[in-house]
Amino acid sequence: MAIKIKIKQNGGKEFLIEENKIWIIENNIIYIEANGEQTVEIAALHLELDKLLQKQIQGKLNYLINLNRAGKSSPAARKVWQKISESETTLKVALFGVHPVARILATFVMGVTNKKDIRFFNTKNEAILWLKS
């Protein structure tokens, strides 16, 4: 298991961790499209990747996470997500998804963190608006 890097047509970089896709939008938002079950190994690689991306981004990071095609995350994986969201370099975390399963997934992740600036939205647009506000 490793972080894979793909150069997109517009020259931007896309990262792959198993089924998850990650890239940077709007300068300081890390966009994660979570696909399938989220194990602790995957979460750990996200932590690695964040350290890498931090060096490229000025100031603090925002996270935007698409849960529409995500599977459950294991208890251990949730601990890593908690670490990422509570990190000093993390500003806000927005999770979104249209259906009830996504909401449940988001609730479980939000349940383990003490972070205040973490929220669930139904659509990507709503989420981005909040992140930028």
Binding site: K72, S73, S74, P75, A76, H99, P100, V101, A102, R103, I104, L105, T107, F108
Partner: protein, 458 residues
């Protein structure tokens, strides 16, 4: 999806929940592709089940950690206990060593003044002798224990008649000094003609040691009544077993201490000081185990104690390898003036002692400080016999005897060995020696051994 399918899905969810209720955390709900409320419920339940399993695993881990902690604590306590025992041992030991040392040095000083009557001098000398013997026993105990614990004790097994063994143990312990000081205590032997045809396959030296230890204890811890030594034959599951016993009417041992007394440096009675280091029984048990036997005891405080030791035995068919080695009677006085004896010995005091022992017999004596000096002497003139110390610098006993035989010298060589080498006697003979005497030297035995090998026609 229609309603009845939803009902089915709900039923499946319920089934999973029931399994979890019964403690099965390996189950999970299947999700449809709908991503609807029921899927959300299923997903939520799945994650809750994961959490539950996680907690259960944690609890198990915790239990294991707790168990490990308990073990660690025990190990720590054991280490502390053994520390405590070690210092108790040292205290005891220094007392045990000082007491006889005090007698030896004290009476020697008085003797040196030389102003006492012949009779008194003899008395002092006997004190010195018995204190020396006591020290020797102590050293032998420590050597035995360390051999047992480091698994270096060598065993030399032969077939011995049970009846003979009992007789000999009795004869030895009858001479016990403490027994002589206790007029109200009798040592009784219960031997039986039945034992005449019964043989055990054992190491007689170690066998005797076991019973001498047990009988000494019985005598030490009994003021009046009797100490009885005997045996009984039984057949357990087709195996012939002989159970020896040493029974006393002494102070007894409390039930709680029946195990502990077998541990080294352990004494049951810690308030009242009785001489001893608490090594006897741990050596005894070590020897019994080594000889494939069992040891146990029955005791009532104030009434007495019986120690039992059992071994397998066989009847008749086997001829004993040899009559047990009894101490032969001292030989009649021999004149050795025609013989030349070489002594290889690096310690001058030991040499002096040997010379003093041999002086009255008139043998011609030459001395070498080590093996190579001895070989030089031999080159100039051949002796009639060599007394060879095994522990020497430059060229030790083993090397020397090998070299002597290599050069085809056939004169007899008698090894002088220490107690620590008692198990190596076979090897010593194999190396080419004709016999051995062990230090501390017993004058009678030395003369016996020398006469045996000098081939004197009398």
């Amino acid at each position: 999806m229609n309603k009845s399918t939803d009902k089915e899905r709900i039923q499946k969810l319920i089934e999973v929940v029931m399994k979890v209720a019964q403690g099965d955390y390996s189950v999970q709900n299947e999700l449809s592709e709908n991503n609807d409320d029921l899927d959300a419920l299923a997903m939520g339940l799945n994650m809750m089940i994961d959490d539950l399993r996680n907690n259960v695993d944690l609890e198990e881990q915790n239990k294991k950690f707790k168990a490990i902690n308990v073990e660690l604590k025990k190990a720590k306590e054991k280490a502390q206990e053994s520390d405590r025992l070690k210092s108790a041992f040292l205290t005891n030991m220094s007392h045990e060593i000082r007491t006889p040392m005090n007698a030896i040095l004290g009476f020697s000083a008085i003797l040196k003044r030389g102003d006492k009557s012949e009779e008194k001098n003899k008395k002092y000398l006997s004190h010195i002798e018995s204190a020396g013997k006591h020290l020797l026993e102590l050293i032998e105990d420590i050597i035995d224990l360390s051999k047992i614990e480091s698994r270096q004790l060598k065993i030399n097994k032969k077939h011995y008649c049970i009846s003979d063994l009992l007789d000999e143990v009795f004869e030895i312990t009858e001479q016990d000094d403490k027994l002589k000081l206790k007029p109200n205590l009798k040592l009784v032997l219960k031997n039986s003609p039945d034992f005449k045809n019964c043989f055990i396959y054992t190491d007689q030296l170690r066998f005797k040691q076991i019973f001498i230890n047990l009988i000494h204890n019985a005598i030490k811890f009994t003021e009046k009544g009797y100490v009885e030594v005997g045996a009984s034959l039984n057949n357990e599951n087709g195996k012939n077993t002989v159970t020896f016993y040493v029974k006393d009417t002494g102070i007894g041992i409390h039930k709680d201490l029946h195990e502990i007394i077998f541990e080294r440096f352990r004494q049951a009675n810690t308030e009242q000081y009785l001489e001893g280091t608490g090594l006897g029984l741990s050596i005894t048990r070590g020897l019994v185990n080594k000889l494939d036997g069992k040891i146990w005891l029955e005791s009532a405080v104030g009434k007495g104690t019986t120690f039992y030791v059992s071994f397998p035995y066989s009847i008749n068919q086997i001829k004993p390898d040899k009559k047990t080695d009894r101490n032969p009677k001292t030989e009649k006085f021999q004149n050795l003036s025609e013989f030349t004896i070489y002594i290889a010995e690096d310690e001058l005091v030991s040499l002096f002692l040997l010379e003093e022992i041999l002086k009255p017999y008139g043998a011609k004596i030459k001395h070498a400080q080590n093996g190579s000096e001895l070989l030089e002497l031999i080159e100039t003139e051949k002796p009639d016999l060599v007394l060879l110390d095994f522990h020497m610098p430059v060229m030790n006993g083993y090397e020397t005897i090998k070299e002597i035989r290599k050069r085809n010298y056939t004169f007899p060589v008698v090894a002088q060995t220490s107690y620590a080498m008692i198990d190596d006697q076979k090897a010593i003979l194999k190396a080419g020696c004709n016999g051995y005497i062990s230090k501390p030297l017993d004058p009678d035995k030395i003369i016996q051994e020398i006469v045996k090998h000098l081939n004197i026609n009398s």
